[in-house]
């Protein structure tokens, strides 16, 4: 009965979902820190495990080099801020804000990304089930409709950036947002599923044919992770 209600009364549906939606930071909880320093998280699968959809070489460079650079950049920004703070030099501390946003965002985004991918031979691909499936059907019409809208959003990014399936903390409804460069998803949204549209995420394999990468990546989306972020948020 409640599912009938959810489908037919959008405002009430939002309110019902919102009432179960109040642990905003839960989706970000796994970002690795050791003794106050950001560290590169391990992957739960091998670099080659997402083939043929994402090549092992891309995964290795993406994780070991690109993500590592964001981790190093984040730690360096945090150190500069701490040092400036200890000297009372707040002008200096404030000047680091763009680096903190870029490298901090890069670390967060990639950490979420690795977790919402999985080999096609394991949890990867297919379609969501349970309450997430219902929510996607409610807010996008169908799973196919959602995929199409996400791919359109990805294709429309001008430059480097990300597209995200998010949950609106206020209404509890799902939505799509894009972010430039490494800007993280924050404010009213909880990130559920992120897709990296930077050229380094696909270029070695797909070159300029990014639409093919946006098609292929659905084979390695980990819906278990996405569902768990949805339910915890």
């Amino acid at each position: 009965m409640s599912s009938t209600l959810l489908r037919t009364v959008p405002a009430l549906r939002g309110a019902l979902r919102a009432s179960r939606a109040t642990k905003p930071a839960a989706a970000l909880a796994s970002t690795s820190f050791v003794r106050g320093k950001a560290t590169l998280p391990d992957l739960s699968y091998d670099y080659g495990a997402l083939e043929p959809h994402i090549s092992g070489k891309i995964m290795e460079l993406h994780h070991k080099k690109h993500h590592q650079t964001y981790v190093t950049g984040l730690n360096s920004a945090l150190e500069t801020i701490a040092e400036a703070e200890s000297k009372g030099d707040f002008t200096k501390a404030a000047s680091v804000a763009p680096l903190l946003n870029f490298h901090g965002g890069g670390h967060l985004n990639h950490t979420l990304f690795w977790e919402n991918l999985a080999p096609a031979s394991r949890e990867g691909g297919g379609e969501p089930s349970g309450v997430l499936k219902t929510a996607i059907n409610d807010d996008f019409g169908s799973f196919d409709g959602f995929r199409k809208q996400m791919n359109t959003a990805l294709a429309g990014i001008q430059g480097s950036g990300w597209a995200w399936l998010v949950k609106d903390k206020q209404s509890g409804t799902l939505g799509l947002v894009t972010r430039a460069n490494q800007d993280p998803v924050s404010g009213p949204y909880t990130p559920l599923l992120g897709i990296d549209a930077w050229e380094h995420a696909y270029y070695l394999q797909y070159e300029n044919r990014k639409a093919e990468y946006f098609e292929a990546i659905w084979n390695v989306i980990n819906w278990k992770t996405v569902a768990s972020r949805f339910e915890k948020s």
Binding site: H66, P98, G159, A180, E199, Y203, E207
Partner: protein, 199 residues
Amino acid sequence: MQQALEPHISTQIMELHHSKHHAAYVANLNNAMQSHVLAVTSSDIATQIALQAAIKFNGGGHINHSLFWQNLTPAGSAEASPDVAPSLSAEVVKTWGSLDDFKKAFSTTLLGIQGSGWGWLVKDGAVLRIVTTKDQDPVVGSEIPIFGVDMWEHAYYLQYLNGKAAYVENIWNVINWKTAEDRFLGTREDVFKALKAAL
């Protein structure tokens, strides 16, 4: 011709960059402008406004790449030596102390770009400046682009992977100082003359 910038920029990069990426900006710009003309004809202001982002992005992409190809030249050619740019070199030395100090400052600026974008040496009035533009934003206003370096990952990734510092170091071998000198001595209109003819 597309192998002419080897080993500093690979043939494969040049070919994709020109025949795919630049071609896509041209095609999308033409589409957007065509739709814009229709929207103007039918006094559809909402559509005209909606098209602005596509015109800026693809138009900028066309302008930036056109300027970029012109300000590159095979390493070892006469144009690849700053000697052919006496007026510009003198101004660079006056501004940065030495050509090496300028290259250092320009390289640092290129490596500081967050995401996709371009680094430019521009002339604004009598003053030389290093500026960056994000994504495909072109150099606009009173600034005259002297030369630009593409820092999108597609400009170097197939050859340099994540090692963009090496790309930035090597790009100096293929900068066309003759083009740079001409742009430095000319007006903004001169710089864009070739582009207008191409459109």
